[in-house]
Symmetry: D2
Subunit: 131 residues, 4 copies
């Protein structure tokens, strides 16, 4: 499991005095950085190897300003050229949101998906979510 | 169907020179404003009547800077206290993304869901997506 | 003068139930798009010709959700390789914010500023702010 | 001096493959949280005590994805009901941006500024920027 902790930023709240639901996609993307580094250790933007195909977010509890949040990231499916990432947002011992994101190993030059190498599959497997 | 058109903003792109996937949740929220007005014609923030329970986004085509985008919004399910909104993002005659969002009629003071009135159900039905 | 009008988006508010001050830099950037097109009519991202050197924002009135805003953009200084853009944010006949941004004609490949051509200077002069 | 360190988030980049200038206002706001706590230790959103009057940002170097950034925050002016905050953004031993923000001690109920108490003035003075 990958763990990433950060403070809620004031501008991430909205007029309901809680964190805007629109913020979660960005937080979860930020918490996937160690996964990006499996595919491109130098985070090479000119040869970026991944594209996002889909995400789904479930909001369970409101998230508030003034308390740290933690994102817990695991892998929940590994296919030949794509994989799913499972992420939970915790605040004050409450699971506040859950997201599942499908990422595709992708070549932006040919606009096509690519098989994931055995090395990376093994690295992803170390973070497989237990059922 | 509700239609909302706007320009891509430069800061909504990311280092891959396309629109960041994190932007879509915000665009789709903005395009739901006419639905918010069914529940609160004055958009009264002190008595806001809706909370978001879940959203799912599918990304079909990259979205680029320099061309207008259009969000097409319909209703795809109406329950007793919740409903689902179906939204499509179009650019240059391409359907680039599809989202489904579940909204709950909600009382922030009691922290509980509330039935949707018959009047609002009828208004929502006028925007039901054809199967 | 360039005019750009848009709706406040819900996620652009913050917990004080007004528009977050952090949003203005993005709105003003979006409203400078016609100026970008003077330098690159096709908005060519691979040969982007401008870099931002500085901006200053004064906040005069709170900006609220539920009412359209208008950005009024003029040029207030033209130098040999840089120029200043003056922008006002209006809502409900109130001037709510004023910004001045310095943009530099820039070559990202050599990392150096470049003179502005006579043609573009003339085009900018048509939008000079009256003193 | 207050120090705040964080990772650049992927969505904070733009199509020029560097951090968007629009992000800085948010980062600097986030780094002012210890100052907010001087005025409201519980970060009480219902009685928020500060409003932003102005900010000015100078961009000295491009900021890139993949390297941590640090915000260094000091106080550079203390008036009777307002004060100025000086902030620097550092990445890889480079000073990349400098911002000065004027904050006003404010009562949102009466819509008026308020004197800053002696206790808070003393706390702010501990973070005064050396000339």
């Amino acid at each position: 499991m990958y763990l990433e902790e950060f403070n809620v930023r004031f501008y991430e709240t909205d007029a309901l005095a809680h964190v805007s639901n629109t913020v979660l996609a960005g937080w979860f993307e930020a918490a996937r950085e160690p996964i990006f580094r499996l595919f491109t250790p130098e985070l090479d933007l000119r040869n970026w190897p991944l594209i996002l195909a889909t995400y789904k977010m479930d909001f369970l509890q409101q998230i508030f300003y003034g308390h740290k949040v933690e994102v817990r990231t695991t892998i929940c499916r590994i296919g030949s050229s794509a994989f799913d990432v499972h992420q939970e947002l915790w605040q004050n011992q409450n699971k506040c949101a859950v997201g599942v994101t499908t990422l595709v190993h992708f070549d932006f030059k040919t606009n096509k998906s690519k098989p994931i190498s055995t090395d990376i599959v093994e690295a992803l497997q170390k973070h497989l979510k237990e059922a």
